[in-house]
């Protein structure tokens, strides 16, 4: 309170101490803020420049939203007013910048923008510096409004660069003319592509060359400040050259200059040179030039005393790596890993793993590298890394034998890391037979080697090893007795851990009950993993920016971790308790592979056969059998429509007499906009679960129909219907399901979906069946919405804004302002947006509260780029959602879909 009194004093000292108090100590205490705002308002209106400055400083230092609301409109006026003093203009520019950064929506754009650009011509260098800072920030949002600043900035820059060191008296810092302003101008130019006007461009290139030339001149002063200032400009010049990426000549010069700095005795310069080179390495013109410095960089990695410099060197090695030098770089990084600082080990491990995979010429090298990695830094090898190596080994026949041999050797080390045991256990369990021929690695030796590690491992690893043992029983029948002994031991069967106990019991029973054939089927070699984006890469991205990874990856990772056991667990139930359908198959001498690959659906088919009744009976010969079996095959892609209207039973209703969707269908659909799995529908009779996955323009959906009653459903027939012209937009292939669903049973239906072009309405699922004689029918909307075909896209802030600008037609944008229906939690919102399918981009929106996303909708006919922005307003409990896509209906549709989610 006293402080506020001080503000309204007329004495300078009192005012000053009041402002100091407020800017240092005040937090947003609402009552006080109003009083303070009042005092500030008075000072801004006064013509006393000192008071105005004080007030502006205070606004900038507090920079709260309330202040922004109160003053955002006044400050631009002060900034461009003709009679403002230089120092006031300077403060006003920065104050505006600060408010803009705090809450961009508050600062109105207007006619003042053009005049701000002209501040670049101001006499006073301080004003120019402040104005450049302001414009640099503003133009990221509205590049077009500030386009005129390019030529002004270039001419200003060339005046500074070409001036003698004494021209700009006050702003010359250790013989370097206006270093800060030059740096700022160069930063500003980095917001734009190279100037189109040839004259401006010529002038700029000249400037850049002058700067590069000056670097070669002998220093005018021995002082470190002189070289600092000079090099600050130089580095900024180089990053501008890299940004333009169009002048091979300059790029190579820049690279050479950086090469010199790499050996400079100033650590700061080495650090910065490494950092700039990282960006330089990604340019195609200079990639080769950067590679010539590889030895210096490796040397830096080895000998540098400073950890931050070493880390930069490691980054650079990662950036400059390609097929030709991968082996050298990876081995150097491995060597470095032994001595690396703990904080950066995990990152290096990830990088090594990625490089090794990306540039592997032969996979035995890859396996060697990863195993080395685990040996050297086992603690830092995250799960993704060893999952990945298992995936690759499983998918590539040629390395399996080698991998088995190598892990076997690695396991022989007296102390080996648990991750090594995991990899070893898995690989030997799968491919141990490939090395069993060698007496040194005969099955009993393999087993005792693994078992010697067993007691030292954590529960998860032990569980994995148990799975390995049961696989050994299958691979090497001679080990059966030993392993059964191990499983039977009290420490396993009565283990305190439920998982271990369950596995021991199940495996023991399985091994003693099941016949060799059954064992062989159950414990078959894992099928190849589907190719997918490396989860390691996703992890590295996540390390770099927490928002960059999608929640999808978690799901995938879990899937791959379960694969190890999942392949074993579910199958025993179908095989060890042979279902009647399997018996029937046996009776009718159906080809065994069909039974092995799809016992469940084969069973359904058989039921189908009998349900068709007498009509089907006479033709039980081999020919219809084959016909049925061929239906088991995935439908041929050429005739998706044909299958839809396929040989359905006569009772199947035609698409014409489909009832309207149930009233709550829309609501049910909304639940699935941001997720792929869950319960689609449930009533007293029936539960429908959905599990779906989408990749690019294709999707697969599993529908699970569960009969909740104890009575059989008859004539059960689900069909997919395309209302309107959806037929041309979306192709859905369905597989038939059994016409009867037993009480308490569940049947599964697979839908293959292909998105042909953008669509607005979801397909309908029509369901008919008889329950206790009464016909039932139900129509639902299938949870297939356009956003399912989203492909997340990562992009930098600049790209984003550039694209955002490109989609500026009013029709391309859809915006919605709506009240929040759910509590506003940033994490939940994030998860929803990721589930929606777009990538979340960090550090794009200046306001960290806002969410910005990008993605491409993949359809067969075309791709639609989408950018979205969600601005929550916690106070009002409102959101503003803006979508820009290249197709107008898509923008609107996505906007509506997404708006219902919050």
């Amino acid at each position: 309170m006293e402080a506020v009194n001080l503000l309204s004093s007329n004495k300078y000292t009192e005012k000053q101490i009041g402002y100091l108090f407020i800017s240092v100590l005040v937090n947003s205490n609402s009552e006080l803020i109003r009083l303070i705002n009042n005092a500030i308002k008075n000072d801004l209106a006064s013509r006393n420049p000192t008071f105005m400055c004080l007030a502006l400083h205070c606004i900038a230092n507090v920079g709260s939203r309330e202040m922004g609301e109160a003053f955002a409109a006044d400050i631009p006026r002060i900034l461009v007013a003709g009679d403002s003093m230089d120092s006031v203009k300077q403060s006003a520019a920065l104050c505006l910048l600060r408010l803009y950064k705090a809450s961009p929506d508050l600062v109105p754009m207007g006619e003042w923008t053009a005049r701000v650009v002209h501040l670049l011509n101001d006499q006073h260098m301080g004003v120019v510096t402040a104005a450049v800072s302001l414009i640099t920030c503003l133009c990221k949002k509205n590049p077009d409004d500030f386009k005129t600043c390019i030529s002004l900035a270039v001419s200003r820059l060339s005046r500074i660069v070409s001036s003698a060191s004494t021209d700009l008296q006050d702003y010359t810092y250790y013989f370097v003319p206006a270093p800060w302003l030059s740096v700022k101008l160069l930063r500003l130019l980095q917001c734009y592509p190279p100037p189109e006007d040839a004259a401006v461009k010529g002038r700029l290139v000249e400037c850049l060359e002058t700067v590069l030339n000056k670097a070669q001149e002998p220093p005018k002063s021995k002082k470190v400040q002189h070289s600092n200032a000079k090099n600050a400009i130089l580095f900024e010049t180089i990053s501008l050259i890299i940004h333009y990426d169009s002048e091979p000549n300059l790029l190579v010069r820049a690279c050479n200059q950086l090469g010199q700095f790499l050996q400079h005795r100033e650590t700061n310069l080495r650090y910065l040179a490494l950092e700039s080179m990282c960006t330089l390495a990604s340019s195609e013109f200079s990639h080769e030039a950067v590679k010539t410095h590889i030895d210096t960089v490796i040397n830096a990695l080895k000998t540098e005393r400073d950890v931050s410099v070493r880390q930069r060197a490691a980054d650079l090695l990662y950036a400059m790596c390609d097929r030709s030098n991968a082996k050298q770089i990876v081995s150097e990084m491995l060597r470095y890993l032994e001595t690396a600082d703990y904080a950066i080990r995990e990152e290096i491990v990830l990088k090594v793993a990625i490089l090794a995979e990306k540039y592997a010429v032969d996979y035995s090298w890859y396996v060697d590298t990863i195993l080395n990695l685990i040996r050297i830094a086992g603690d830092y090898v995250s799960e993704e890394v060893w999952y990945r190596v298992l995936q690759i080994v499983t998918n590539r026949d040629d390395v399996q034998g080698y991998a088995a041999k190598t892990v076997f050797e690695a396991l022989q080390a007296p102390a080996c890391h648990e991750n090594m045991v995991k990899v070893g256990g898995y690989i030997l369990g799968e491919f141990g037979n490939l090395i069993a021929g060698d007496p040194r690695s005969s099955p009993p030796v393999q087993f005792s080697l693994l078992h010697s590690k067993f007691h030292l491992c954590s529960v998860a690893t032990r569980a994995l090893l148990l799975s390995t043992y049961i696989k050994f029983i299958n691979l090497f029948p001679e080990t059966k007795a030993t392993i059964q002994g191990v499983l039977r031991a009290g420490s396993q069967l009565r283990n305190a851990d439920v998982e271990l106990q369950q596995r021991a019991v199940e495996y023991l029973t399985l091994s003693s009950v099941a016949s060799t054939d059954v064992l062989a089927t159950v414990l078959e070699e894992m099928p190849p993993f589907p190719e997918r984006e490396s989860s390691i890469l996703a992890k590295l991205k996540r390390k770099k920016g927490p928002g960059a990874a999608s929640s999808l990856d978690d799901g995938r990772r879990d899937a791959s971790s379960n694969d190890i056991n999942g392949g074993v667990e579910p199958t025993p139930s179908t095989v060890s308790t042979p279902s009647p359908s399997a018996d029937l198959l046996g009776l009718r001498a159906a080809p065994p592979p069909a039974a092995a690959t799809a016992p469940a659906s084969a069973g359904n088919l058989l039921v189908d056969v009998f349900s068709d009744g007498p009509a089907a009976q006479p033709s039980l010969g081999p020919t219809p059998e084959e016909a049925f079996l061929s239906e088991l095959e995935p439908p041929a892609p050429e005739s998706p429509m044909g299958l839809l209207a396929d040989p359905a039973p006569a009772s199947d209703p035609g698409p014409e007499d489909i009832g309207p969707p149930i009233p709550e269908a829309d609501e049910l659909l909304n639940k699935f906009v941001c997720k792929n799995n869950g319960v689609l529908f449930e009533n007293q009779l029936l539960q429908i679960g959905v599990k779906s996955e989408f990749r690019q323009n294709l999707g697969r959906m599993y529908l699970f129909y569960g009969n909740k009653t104890s009575v059989q459903f008859q004539n059960f027939s689900p069909t997919v219907v395309h209302p309107g012209d959806l037929q041309t937009q979306l192709a859905v292939q369905t597989k038939r399901v059994a016409a009867q669903v037993d009480g308490g049973a569940q049947v599964q239906q697979v839908l293959n979906i292909e998105c042909l072009r953008d669509f607005l309405t979801p397909p309908l699922l029509s369901l008919r069946f008889r329950y206790g004689g009464a016909p039932q029918s139900l129509t639902l909307k299938l949870p297939v919405t356009i956003n399912k075909f989203f492909q997340p896209t990562e992009m930098a802030a600049q790209d984003f804004f550039q694209r955002w600008k490109q989609l500026s037609l009013p029709l391309q944008e859809a915006q919605k302002i709506f009240k929040a229906n759910h509590p506003m939690d940033a994490e939940v919102t994030k998860a929803k947006l990721l589930g929606f399918g777009s990538a979340l981009l960090d550090n794009v929106d200046p306001n960290p509260e806002n969410f910005v996303g990008a993605g491409i909708i993949q359809t067969k006919a075309l791709q639609v780029g989408c950018l979205l922005r969600l601005e929550p307003n916690a106070q009002a409990q409102m959101y503003r959602l803006t979508l820009r896509t290249s197709k107008e209906p898509v923008s609107r549709h996505l906007c509506e879909l997404l708006a219902q989610q919050f």
Binding site: K11, Y12, I17, S91, L94, G126, A130, N231, N268, Q311
Partner: protein, 193 residues
């Protein structure tokens, strides 16, 4: 943008703490402590940049620091600032302090907290670099002190008291005055209003 400016001595006692983004008091103190530990273990002749500690935004932010005799000047900045530029800015700030206080030392920062803040205010405003011209800053400061003198009395009294204390040469320097003494000053001032 500059996120924070921290000045502490070789023992980690904060001498000037200025945040341009709101952090609760206890987090601020943790940040100072963390930064001190990050900076302390670095030799003098290795580079002046390092990635920020976990509390202050991690690798998105850089700590750029300089070590002068007994004091560390640490600026925490985001990627929009040029590293060498900030390094020079620290130099400008210190040289300005030197000009204003004539041979600046740690004690000046303790006893002339307000003045140091005013100088900083002329250099950095709300996290943005305002003025880099030393002469300009010094001129501003001189104008301020002229104004102060012309209004007389008010700030002279505490200053006199301070210099008296300084001359006594207390064995123990009072700790962390920065917030405490301002609170003391304000009630004193009320009688003048």
């Amino acid at each position: 943008m500059i996120q924070a400016i921290l000045v502490f001595n070789n023992h980690g006692k904060p001498r000037l703490v200025r945040f341009y983004q709101r952090f609760p008091e206890e987090i601020q103190q943790q940040i100072v402590r963390e930064t001190f530990h990050l900076v302390l273990k670095r030799d003098d002749n290795i580079c002046n940049f390092l990635e920020g500690g976990s509390l202050i935004g991690g690798s998105d932010y850089k700590l750029i620091y300089r070590h002068y005799a007994t004091l560390y000047f640490v600026f925490c900045v985001d990627s929009s600032e040029s590293e060498l530029g900030i390094l020079d800015l620290i130099q400008v700030f210190v040289e300005t302090l030197d000009k204003c206080f004539e041979n600046v030392c740690e004690l000046d920062l303790i006893f002339h907290m307000d003045k140091v803040h005013y100088i900083l205010q002329e250099v950095v405003m709300g996290g943005m670099v305002l003025e880099t011209n030393m002469n300009e800053i010094v001129a501003q400061m001189e104008a301020q002190s002229r104004l102060e003198k012309s209004e007389g009395g008010l700030s002279a009294a505490p200053a006199r008291a301070v210099s008296a204390v300084k001359n006594i040469n207390l064995p123990e320097i009072p700790r962390n005055i920065n917030i405490g003494d301002l609170n003391i000053k304000v009630p004193n001032l009320s009688q003048f209003v």
